[in-house]
Symmetry: C2
Subunit: 258 residues, 2 copies
């Protein structure tokens, strides 16, 4: 029985190393350099073993993307520290070397099936709660949430915005897997994986206090769209980098209604 267990453990480990290799290779040489042959070489197996873990290359990309969503959600929901130095530490955590992530299996996991099955994560139709009550309805994300956010909701929005863009900038290939490469991860539906919901919930939570009379879901979608637009457009040099902070400030001003 121990042998059997070891087998499944080894298999899981190998699967993780595939995802890690894909991510690492993509981050260093771009996604066009991520081929099945190179991946096989990295994990020191032949190509066909990849297909015993994933349905195809797209599935591998999707696994990387899911990992990215989990990390993004965690980065956004991270409690805000009072002093800026700790905040800098947070941003460093975002940029964490993929190797480190892989080395710690207890961290965010890659298996999609394991993630989906939690019914409490059904933040899907949180549209019903368009007011600050959504924080109470979702204590998990707001419990450890930004302490200063209660005092200063605007600063909380600014922090989330900065973290989002920092994440996209620090992990361009990962961000590509999440958004640009089409991985057909279900998004607005019932079977939407938890990390995706968590990422959106983190944005929505921080926006609810400043929503006023507006629908916080729409406001969150809009903010997310703006952040995504800024991230992608500035990534390939279509937005001048010198006005980056001005853009963020302007966005926060708009959203918070200043």
């Amino acid at each position: 029985m121990s042998a059997q267990e070891r087998k499944v453990r080894d298999r899981a480990q190998r699967e993780r190393s595939i995802v890690a290799a894909a991510r690492q290779l993509a981050e260093s040489d771009g996604w066009e350099a991520v081929t099945t042959r190179r991946l096989a070489e990295r994990i020191e197996y032949s190509q066909p073993v990849l297909y015993s873990h994933f349905a195809g290359k797209d599935a591998i990309v999707a696994a990387v993307a899911l990992e990215g969503f989990a990390e993004l959600a965690q980065a956004l929901a991270q409690p805000a520290a009072a002093d800026p130095r700790a905040a800098a530490a947070d941003s460093r955590a975002v940029v964490a070397n993929p190797k480190t992530v892989v080395a710690d299996p207890s961290a965010v996991v890659a298996d999609p099936k394991a993630v989906v099955t939690d019914p409490r994560a059904a933040v899907a139709d949180s549209r019903a709660v368009a007011d600050p009550k959504s924080s109470a309805a979702n204590p998990k994300s707001s419990a450890a949430n930004l302490r200063s956010s209660v005092a200063d909701p605007r600063a909380a929005v600014a922090t989330v915005a900065r973290r989002y863009l920092k994440f996209a900038e620090a992990n361009p290939a990962l961000y590509d897997a999440m958004f640009n490469l089409h991985t057909d991860l279900p998004f607005g539906r019932a079977d939407t994986p938890a990390p995706l919901r968590a990422a959106f919930a983190a944005i929505q939570d921080v926006l609810a206090p400043v929503a006023g009379g507006r629908d916080s879901a729409v406001l969150a979608e809009l903010t997310w769209s703006a952040l995504h637009g800024i991230a992608t457009l500035s990534r390939d040099g279509r937005l001048p980098p010198e006005y980056a902070t001005e853009r963020i400030d302007a966005l926060v001003d708009l959203v918070t209604g200043q």
Copy 2:
């Protein structure tokens, strides 16, 4: 001399047909279906002739993208139509079957310069063909209001926003070529092609009146980012379609400082 001239004319025609074939194929079957062999078959030549016109496949995509920027710029800068019939005709040009485009060179053409200066190649103002429901829900967006967009800066912003998203929705593959596929078109630099500037200028122009004390360039970048984010995220179903109009309204509200 006539023979020589005919040669260069034929070459130009063939180059246009290559771009048109690429666009048509991409729009119908997606960019992954656009291969050099298929393109060669469409234009009824062998593959190597493609490389006598373009440096590679990326250059063909870039040509399509440039065409897209020209059309987008014109669509955004289009004066608000007072006559619904004209607007309807325009919208036909937008969603026009690519086949028609190919068959009729006098229609929306491949040559960017020609497009910019040809008013007949107008792109849609969707307002005229908007469904009654949205008109009823949002009376501000009536055709009558478009006429007063010069007088009403807010309506002008709303019109541009709607046109932008309509364009992205009506030409998904074209929009992909412009943004998602990396064509390394120079953007914020000195050698930025005119169509790209025109597109951004159209956004900035309409935002300047509502900028107030804010930097209109930053505001335009921000608005553009939001529009781009909405366009891309809703394209692969990551934003629920049912709140599309609410999102646009919310964006316009934010930007115009309502």
